[in-house]
């Protein structure tokens, strides 16, 4: 294998590939490279010195406040939910719609009805200050909310 590489390099040497002294259209090429590097590094320089605050979703909704402190838990531990709520919601979707299983046994062996709009949003009814805080920060737009209501009490009352 090394012999082949040597052969390739030698044949390139013979054609004078490594001896080229002229960079054709040198001016345009160098300007182009500079513009490219400038564009590439623009985000870095633009945001230099500004610290973008990490998002802090708020969990002090009325529904959560009503619960005694020891019972303020989600269906799974907070760390798991932070990392995996998307995966969990996907699983929930398939289990409910396609398998017909609508009850979920949480990590504390408590049973929950699987429903984004009626279970999750029941406690986390502050969609804008909870879900949206991280989603806006990361620049993602999940489209759950075009179907799943995010303020069940308000909808039931006929508002929005």
């Amino acid at each position: 294998m090394a012999d082949d590489t040597k052969k390739v390099i030698n044949s390139l040497k013979e054609t004078g590939f490594f001896k080229q002294k002229r960079l054709y259209d040198r001016g345009k090429v160098i300007i182009g490279i500079i513009i490219f590097l400038a564009l590439l590094s623009f985000p870095l320089f633009y945001n230099m010195g500004k610290a973008a605050k990490a998002p802090e979703p708020e969990i002090n909704t009325p529904a959560i406040q009503r619960l005694p402190e020891t019972e303020r838990v989600c269906v799974e531990p907070k760390s798991y939910m932070k990392d995996n709520h998307m995966k969990l919601l996907n699983e929930w979707r398939d289990q409910v719609v396609r398998e017909g299983k609508r009850d979920y046994v949480g990590f504390n062996n408590k049973k929950y009805t699987i429903s984004l709009q009626n279970t999750c949003m029941e406690c986390h009814s502050n969609y804008d200050n909870f879900c949206n805080k991280c989603h806006t920060y990361s620049g993602i737009t999940p489209y759950c909310w075009t179907c799943h209501l995010n303020k069940p009490e308000e909808w039931a009352a006929g508002k929005q």
Binding site: M1, D4, E91, R93, Q95, V97, R98, E99, G100, K101, R102, D103, Y104, V105, K111, T113, I114, Q117, N118, Y143, T146, C147, H148, L149, P152, E153, W155, A156, G158, Q160
Partner: protein
Amino acid sequence: MDINRREFLKIAGASTAIGLLGGWKAVELLAPGDVEAKYLQNPKVLTAKRWAMVVDMKKMNQETAKNCIEACHRIHNVPDIGDSKREIKWIWLEPFENAFPGQHQEHLAEQLTGQSFIVMCNHCDNPPCVRVCPTKATWKREDGIIMMDQHRCIGCRFCMAACPFGSRSFNWMDPRPFIKKRSPDYPTREKGVVEKCNFCAERLAKGQMPACVEASNGALIFGDMGDPGSEPRKILHTHYTLTRKTHLGTNPQVYYLV
């Protein structure tokens, strides 16, 4: 070892492809076991071998029908588009000659003329809509209900072409502005997906009868065709019933007692 560049590239490419495929499959197989134990059915769930509905046209009058339609469309956030070309309807009324085209006789029995028949998805036992769906976004459940998964639907509308009964509606635009009072019992839908009556699968799962059946004051009889002692079976055993476009062989499970 004497190998030329072309052969090397072929071997490298093949090994990478096999490696990636094998690696991916290995990860899938070895991944920690799944979550079956965590998902349960509600203990109150109503089950059946084959759900079906009998419409007793003697008890179904205009007022009752209106109640049934209103109950269904309210609970499921069915929008009121107002334009007959784009309307969305899960359950509605049709005169005899439109609900049963091809069955029309010139001198039809008086009880059938003018009367409006309540129509909905027939949850056929041999559904052409399920046959044509390219993504299994609509499928036949074990208990016979023809389900819709609006998360998977790509909006190709093949199912709408295939349904011989015109039971399906498409969201030509965002339906939310057209929903007067939103119900938290069921999500709304997005533009671009198909929807239809689902025999209230979400209510059956909690032990409740379909909304239209509850509102029908006995005019709609819902039960298990697989249970010889069920109400619908008893009715079918003693009365002749009509089904829509029977000759097409889709085996519709909505029976009309005239």
